[in-house]
Amino acid sequence: MAQMWITMGPQHPMTHGLWTLRVKVDGETVVDTEAELGYIHRGVEKIAESRDFTQITPYCDRLCYVSAMTWANSYIYAAEDLLEVEVPERAEYIRLIAAECQRLASHLMWLGAYGPDIGSLTLMTWCMRDREMFLDLLQELGGSRMHYNYPRVGGVKRDIPVGFADRLVAKVKLFEHRIDEYEMLLDESTIWLVRLQGVGYAKAEDMVNAGVSGPNIRAAGVNYDVRWAHPYSVYDQVDWEPAVEKPTSVKGADCYDRYRVRMEEMRQSCRMILDAIEKIPGGKNTNYANGDEMILAKAPTRAPEGATGFSHYECTRGASQFYIQGGGDGRGKNPYRLSIRSPMFITIPYVAKTMIGYKVADIPAIMGSFDPCIGETDR
C-alpha cells in the first residue's frame, strides 16, 4: 500500500487540545510527521502590554487551563522579581499548597484522558471523580474551579478558609489510597504494559538538546526539577523528592517511564501538601483577613523603565519561564514586554519526531504520554 498522509486534524478525539498532527503512514508504520500549532493563539503576550500587573494574572490562568494555578504562580514570581517585592512566608506556603493541588488535578486530567486513549475506559470516570476532590479544594481557596485569579503581587488574594486544612488532609489521604487503585488497574496490567513499554523512546541527551523539561526528561533519568535545582517559594523546606525514573533501555525513556514519573509525582505532591499544611506559619486553622500582611505584602504598582523580572518555575508539563520588561505605555503600570516560555511549545515538535518508526496505534500512546496542553503551547 502506498504511503499516505493522515490528518489527525484539529477535531479529533485524541489530540488533547486543538492542533493538527499530520502523519505519513506506510501501512501501519509511521514514516513522517508534521505538527501544526496555533489554533488557539490568543495573543496573551500582546494583551499583557496594555494591562496592569494585577490584571495580567487572570490571563495567565488561561494559558494552560488544566493547570491554571501553576501558570498564574509562574507569572507572579516574575512580576515580584520585577517590582522587587518580598512575599510573606505564609503566602508562599499557601501558594505551594495551591500549586500542588493543581498539579494533582492536572495529572489526573492527563491520566483520565490517557487511559481511554490506550483503551482503558474505566480510567476516565475514576480520574474525574478524584479530580473533583481537588477542584473542590481549589474552589474553596480561589473562588472558582478552573480560573482562580488567586495569586497577587506580594502574596495571595485571600487566606485559607477555616476548616480547609481538615478537608485538605482528608482528601489527600483518601487520594493516596486511590493512587494505589490506579496502579492496581494499570501498573501491573499486562495489556497496559505491552502498550506502553518499548514505545516512544526518547533519549535524555536528545530531549535536553531539544529543550524538553519536566516529567518528560525525569523519565529519562535526568534529575532536573526546577523546584529542586533552583528552589523558589518554600520548596526547599517541605519534605519531598523529585520523581525520577532511570530508564531500563539505552534507547531512552519509553511511555511507561513517563507514566510512572507522573504517578510518582502525584505521590510526592500528596506528601508535600501534607507536610506544608502542618508547617504553615500562622497555623492551619487561622484565617487572616484579605490584605493582611501575613498573606499579602505591599507592592509597588509601577516598574521603572528598563527594569526586568524573570521567573523560572516548574509547571506541570515542564519548566516555564516568564520574562517581563518594565516601563510600558502606562508609564510603568504596564509591562513593556511579557515573554512566556512554554514547555509544551518546545516539546510538541520534538514529540512529533519521536513517533517516527512506530505504528499508527502507538501515536496516541506516545502523544498522550508527553501530556500535551495546547493552551500553553499557543498562548
Binding site: 494591562r51 496592569d52 494585577t54 490584571q55 495580567i56 494574572t57 487572570p58 490571563y59 488561561r62 474505566t122 475514576w126 471523580r129 473542590d136 474552589q139 474553596e140 473562588g143 472558582s144 480560573h147 482562580y148 485569579n149 488574594k157 485571600r158 478558609p161 476548616g163 481538615d166 478537608r167 488532609v169 482528608a170 482528601k171 483518601l174 489510597h177 486511590r178 494505589d180 487503585e181 492496581m184 488497574l185 494499570l186 501498573d187 501491573e188 496490567s189 499486562t190 495489556i191 504494559l193 505491552v194 513499554q197 518499548g198 531500563t248 533501555s249 534507547k251 511507561y256 517511564d257 510512572r260 484579605n290
Partner: protein, 324 residues
C-alpha cells in the same frame, strides 16, 4: 522488548489486579456494601466521607433540610439513597434547577467566596469608578437610574438628611406587597431579578399635604398624600455589566474594597438568548441591602454625617452672614 524491572507483563498481571479492582469499585457503588465494608474495600462509598462532614457542613445541610432531607432519604432523587435496595430506588439524578447537589450532599458546598454572578448593593455605591478602571476586559459601565436615594429612605438618627420633593422631579411610593416579601426573597433560588419595591411617578404639582403625580408605568395621574411619597432621583448612580465579556476574575470586587461590589456565590442565572441579554443592568445585579446590612448602615451613616456637616457649615455661614 526491554522490560521495566518492576513491571513484568505476565499472566498474573493480565488477570489479577485489573479484574480485582474493577470488581471492588463496582461493589463499592452499592451503598449496602460500600457503607458497610467501605474501609475494607479500600475507600469509602461515594457519599459517606466521615472526615468531610464537619459541624459546618452539617449545619449547612440542616439549613436546607426542608428542601431536601438528606438524612432521611425516602425517595428524593439525589445521590444519597436509603441504602438497602439501591437498584430499586429512584434514579440518582439531581433535578437541577429545582434541586442543587450542594444543597443535598452535606459535604459539598459552593464556598462563600466563589466568583459567581455579580451582585451590587447599589445603595452604597459611591461611583468612584475603581471597578471600571480595574476590569481587564472593559465590562463595566456606569449609568444612572431612577431610584430612591438611601438617605431619603433612612430612619432613626440618619433621617432627614435627604432631599425634598420638587415639582418636575420624581417621587416614589412603596409597593407593600413586594416589601412584605423582600425579607424572604432568596437570590439563590429565585432565578429572577429582585422585585421592584418602589413605584415611581413624576411630581406635577405640590400643594401642602397632597401632591399630584403622574405614574411612570401607566401614565395616569393621581393625587397622593405627601407623607406617602419619597423623593426619588433619576441621577442615582447605577451600572451595567457585560457578563458576556466578564471573565469572573474578581478584580472589580477587590477594587471596591468589598463594600458594594460583590460576586455572589451563584453560578447560574446568567443565561440569555442574545448577547444583549447578557448585559446586566442594575435590576439584575441588585443585591438587597438586607444581605449586608452593616455595610449599608456604615455607608448610610457616612453619607448622613457628611450631609449633616454640610448643613451645619451652611447654617454657620448663614449665621455668620446674618451677623455680618
Amino acid at each position: 522488548m526491554p522490560m521495566h524491572p518492576h513491571a513484568q507483563p505476565n499472566f498474573r498481571n493480565l488477570f489479577w489486579y485489573p479484574f480485582k479492582i474493577t470488581l471492588i469499585t463496582a461493589l463499592r457503588t452499592f451503598p449496602l456494601i460500600g457503607k458497610r465494608f467501605g474501609k475494607r474495600l479500600g475507600a469509602y462509598h461515594n457519599t459517606s466521607h466521615p472526615e468531610f462532614l464537619d459541624e459546618g457542613s452539617r449545619a449547612r445541610a440542616a439549613a436546607t433540610a426542608d428542601m431536601n432531607d438528606v438524612t432521611r432519604q425516602e425517595f428524593a432523587p439525589d445521590r444519597v439513597t436509603s441504602d438497602l435496595k439501591p437498584t430499586l430506588w429512584k434514579p440518582q439524578t439531581v433535578q437541577y434547577p429545582y434541586e442543587r447537589l450542594e444543597d443535598m450532599e452535606p459535604w459539598l458546598f459552593v464556598p462563600g467566596n466563589y466568583n459567581g454572578r455579580i451582585g451590587v448593593i447599589w445603595e452604597t455605591c459611591t461611583a468612584c469608578k475603581m471597578c471600571v478602571n480595574v476590569c481587564p476586559n472593559d465590562c463595566l459601565h456606569m449609568t444612572t437610574e431612577l431610584r430612591v436615594d438611601v438617605l431619603d429612605n433612612a430612619e432613626g438618627e440618619n433621617a432627614g438628611f435627604g432631599s425634598e420633593l420638587e415639582v418636575g422631579k420624581f417621587a416614589a411610593v412603596e409597593v407593600p406587597e413586594v416589601k412584605a416579601t423582600l425579607d424572604r426573597f432568596n437570590h439563590v433560588t429565585a432565578h429572577t431579578s429582585t422585585p421592584e419595591e418602589w413605584r415611581f411617578a413624576e411630581v406635577l404639582d405640590l400643594s401642602g399635604d397632597s401632591a399630584t403625580v403622574r405614574w411612570n408605568d401607566s401614565g395616569e395621574e393621581a393625587v397622593l398624600a405627601t407623607a406617602e411619597l419619597f423623593p426619588a432621583d433619576d441621577q442615582i448612580v447605577s451600572g451595567r455589566i457585560d457578563l458576556g465579556r466578564c471573565m469572573f476574575c474578581g478584580l472589580c470586587m477587590e477594587a471596591c474594597g468589598f463594600t458594594s461590589f460583590f460576586m455572589t456565590n451563584e453560578y447560574d442565572g446568567m443565561s440569555g438568548f442574545t448577547r444583549q441579554d447578557l448585559w446586566f443592568d442594575a435590576s439584575r445585579t441588585r443585591v438587597l441591602p438586607g444581605v449586608h446590612q452593616e455595610a449599608v448602615d456604615a455607608e448610610l451613616a457616612k453619607r448622613a454625617s457628611k450631609e449633616r456637616d454640610k448643613r451645619a457649615k451652611k447654617a454657620a455661614k448663614e449665621t455668620a452672614k446674618g451677623d455680618a
